[in-house]
Amino acid sequence: MTCWEVLRITNGTDTVNLRSSGDTGYICCAWRPSFAALKDGGVWLDSPLADGRRLAMAYYQNMVQTLTLQLNAYTTDDLYHYIQDLERLLIQARNYWKSGGVSDFVWLEMQGRCESEMRYALVKNGRWGDTPFPFDAPVAQDEQTGLVAMPDIELVLELGPAWTENQPGVGTQIPIGTAVEFNSQYFGNVNPSTGEVVRTTDPDVYLANYRADVQPTHIFRYDASTGTYSANLLGTALPYNLFPSPPAVGDILYIGVQSSVADGGPFSNVVFNIGTAGSDYDVQVEVGTGGGWTIIGANSTWSSGFATDAFITTGSGVISWYPGHTRPTDIVNGITGWWVRIRVTAVGGAPSAPQQAEYHPYFAGWPYIDIEDGDVGGNIPALAELIVRNVSGQTSSLPGRAARVIQLALRSRSRGEDFTPFLNIADEQNPSGVTVVGSFADYGDSPTGRGLASSAGSAYIQMTPALARAYLGRFHAYVRGNFDAGVTVTDAQVRLRVSYGASATNFTAFYDVTADPLSGIGGNVWGLVWDLGQFEIRPCLENDDFSLQFTVGIFSDSGAFHVHDLILWPVDEWAAQFQTAYSTDLAIGLSSLTQPHYLDVDSVRCPVQDLRSFSVNEAAGVYSIWQAIAAGPAILQAEGAQRLYALSRSPTDVADPEESNVGTVHRVSLYKQARYRGGRGSR
């Protein structure tokens, strides 16, 4: 354990030590550290007709610390220079806040004697008390006789409302990773042998725009020179080549899902991790058409087209595509299922095969990142910064997969490990405890490949009591779907009814709403969203044995459409929406989050702005400011495991925010600035 003590004010360059251990300088000789109080003592609801009162709102004031200092110097001049140095920092602190962040900020660093960790607080103001009589001892002591001094100087510092783990403006990256099990195999950021999640700070964690269980069941390498397939690579030790070595024209990598496997279905992305880069070949990506193959407009992190530079750099990457309205099965190497293949179309003089390492290729099928208990720290919510990189891009052949709206929501996992905002309106791929009843059909643009046709009228999602308890809280509800391919639809309407019930047959509706109707032509839109407003599933039912039922009714005046998932967006911990601050001036157009841009949602790095959001071009810097709809800064809970969810949408204009493409994929990184009331100790 370290046993020194720290109390100093700094701007990162100039520092004034307030607890000097030498003969001269400031010595803080008295200070009773105070906690930030509640503003106005909080907002209380206090009826004269009832016992007691109830706290409705509570926000913290700034911390105000009153220090008593002794200042020693060798000369009177030095004495005043010490005061000037500290006052300069206090002026700079004030200027930072007054100017809206033009100058640098100033902070206080503090570590108690034998306390393990340092803590930091922004300085917002500093005020001196009176100083001693200047014409007599000890201020004016003869310089030849020893030190001069100013005893008992009072310094009042107004600090930010909380102490932080790092100096202001600096975040700590949180390692994240997500893994799932499917068909007795582990996928995601995982050790595929043990199932242990491998959390990382590398840009190797992906967010889908839906939730589905499906993962690959078969991966084959086809050698055109021999006309043979490899064994299923999912049963092969890593690393392994993705093409025969050396690659030749006609060699193919097949990735598929066997249709007979429970919860099998189509997919729209594949994540790879390249241990050894390939070189000197061209490829094209094709999907099965039920008897043939068609080239798809795939996008990848290696290039926007994934043709001449597939797998040519090491590390993680993803290819993705818009799933299309239909997804038939094909037979590859005797396996009937949904397939995508990467076919070598040309080679140069010295082609080499890329090698998959560390984990098997997988489908990013989850719209969240997990933050584990102990990852955040502090005792009040930490400030957060989230980097969301678009990796599904948008070109003329890849419509709708660049985000213009990104919604984020935080939810503690202690409220229910099995909670998911995304409930598939399908007869498969839902959490245990969910029963979906309806008449479903195949739709390739659905997360599961299945959906509810408008001709079917309605379906309901029913939850067991055990799962229903995970859904207590406030939600903003959406239903997603699409017009059928090539069909002109007028006034497609979606109705949601939410009901409690003590048994499967005894339900009472408490929320019943019909969304504004949508019209259009299937094929011109790439996923639709119906906004069904907010409701609460009351916490006071927590101890009751109750079930939940969500009934989704759909109909249109003319034309067929389908829906595929109900989204219960949690809004009671932290929820926010970020969207391009677009102008309706069509000459400017909409600014969307396309590869290689990322969205930076930041409450860490710029203290004067509680929450800022902007898109950044990886190569060229800030691209555009995004607007934030959020009632507070981006936060993470101080303690407990939690999950941060994301949902992206791609409205075509400001008044038309309904599109949400299931083919959109993002890659994320997360930073935090833990906050403390009081001391830090070793935490």
């Binding site: 408490f510 907010q534 609460e536 911990e573 601050a581 936060i635």
Partner: protein, 398 residues
């Protein structure tokens, strides 16, 4: 594990410069000015009503001097939109008047709705003044004059003056002078140099809901015959010269009661709408009308609504809850034009099937939210007589 959840029970407030193409497009969500206005708000209040929808809002902002000056010079007409923590709009409207306090200066700009950049005069022309009394013609309008520069800044704000009896030349002079003097917002300033009265830069925004834009265009229709009330409401909204209002009429209830289609003498669109709402329907039911999020109109029969809210007088929490499941409705989310029930008021009394007979039912005429947690609900009981009288041309909506 102890549950310790942070709840963002709060509001976020945005300001936008509208995008305007005079006479065709008025898009309030033009260019974002600020998505974090709530961090500067020292005081906030909004009011919703059964006639109008989003009625008014008032924001008190403390800003650096440069920002305050920007708001004062360019803030009129800005679109203000207030979201709850679930990202739903709880109030939206435009800045109609701005107050600035800075040092000894108190200044005010607006109201925007007093601006006139399209004007005409209705007058009775003197046809012959050589006889006594002079011969007076029937009331006619002058031609319209416009100021396109002002329209580009603020949209089309049309006013029709009454010129009384005058000559053609006088009527045109009234019109031209009125346009010249009213095409830009008025500004007034005062200085208070009393010691100790100087102020830090402070801006107050007085905002109005978009229903007020019905007051700045006249509605005329020469078509004879009758039309349904709901069709005429849609016709009045569609006639907006700015294109401000949503053309999604999905929230306008069907009301087949017939009313004359013709309108003459240049009444404001708002006057026409109020008279239409006052008619009720064939059963003399009362209707409400308002402009809500995305400038979408809502017109519906009050008596057909279910009770949405409960309030228990004896609850420690003094909160409004949803009647269906008792979940808490935050004060900023409480809407006018809904019914509220007081379950612990007059306990044990007979529950009447007619809500107007039961004092435990309140129809919310208006609701005023004051940050952080203040709520005032004004209620009224509903009857059919006013609608009956309105059909007879007696009375109407204020």
């Amino acid at each position: 594990m102890t549950k310790r959840f942070f709840s963002t029970t709060g509001l976020s407030i945005q300001a936008w410069d509208p995008s305007i193409s005079p006479g065709s497009v008025y898009q309030p969500l033009g260019t974002l000015v600020s998505d974090a206005l709530h961090y500067h708000v020292e005081g906030y209040q909004h009011k919703l009503g059964s006639l109008g929808g989003f009625l008014t809002a008032r924001l008190e902002l403390r800003l650096p001097a440069l920002n305050a000056e920007d708001w004062f010079t360019a803030g009129l007409g800005r679109h203000i939109v207030v979201y709850n923590s679930g990202m739903d709009i709880v109030w939206a409207g435009f800045v109609n008047r701005i107050g600035l306090g800075m040092g000894a200066l108190s200044a005010e700009r607006g109201p925007l709705l007093d601006v006139a950049n399209r004007a005409s005069v209705m007058y009775a022309p003197i046809l012959d003044d050589s006889v006594s009394p002079p011969i007076i013609g029937t009331t006619i309008p002058t031609t319209i004059v416009e100021d396109t520069s002002s329209q580009a800044d603020y949209g089309v704000l049309e006013k029709v003056l009454s010129g009384g009896t005058c000559t053609d030349e006088d009527a045109e002079r009234y019109r031209d002078t009125f346009l010249e003097e009213n095409k830009y917002p008025v500004t007034s300033e005062s200085l208070n140099l009393s010691p100790g009265d100087a102020k830090e830069p402070q801006i107050s925004l007085e905002c109005e809901g978009y229903h007020r834009w019905f007051e700045v265009y006249p509605y005329e229709d020469a078509t004879t015959g009758s039309t349904s009330v709901h069709d005429k409401i849609e016709n009045v909204i569609t006639a907006d010269p700015n294109g401000l209002f949503s053309t999604d009429y999905g929230d306008i209830a069907a009301n087949a009661y017939l009313t004359p289609e013709q309108e003459q003498d240049m009444p404001t669109a708002w006057a026409v709408l109020k008279s239409l709402v006052a008619l009720g329907d064939a059963s003399d039911k009362r209707y409400s009308f308002g402009i809500y999020a995305d400038q979408k109109a809502r017109y519906r029969a009050i008596e057909d609504l279910d009770e949405l809210y409960n309030h228990r007088l004896t609850s420690e929490g003094q909160q409004v809850t949803l009647k269906k499941d008792q979940s808490v409705v935050f004060p900023w989310d409480v809407r006018a034009d809904e019914w509220m029930f007081l379950p612990d008021f007059l306990p044990g009394r007979t529950v009447y099937s007619e809500r107007r007979r039961d004092p435990r039912y309140i129809y919310i005429e208006s609701v005023t939210y004051t940050a952080p947690y203040g709520l005032a609900v004004n209620g009224q009981h509903i009857s059919t007589l006013p609608q009956l009288l309105a059909k007879a041309g007696l009375g109407g909506m204020a």
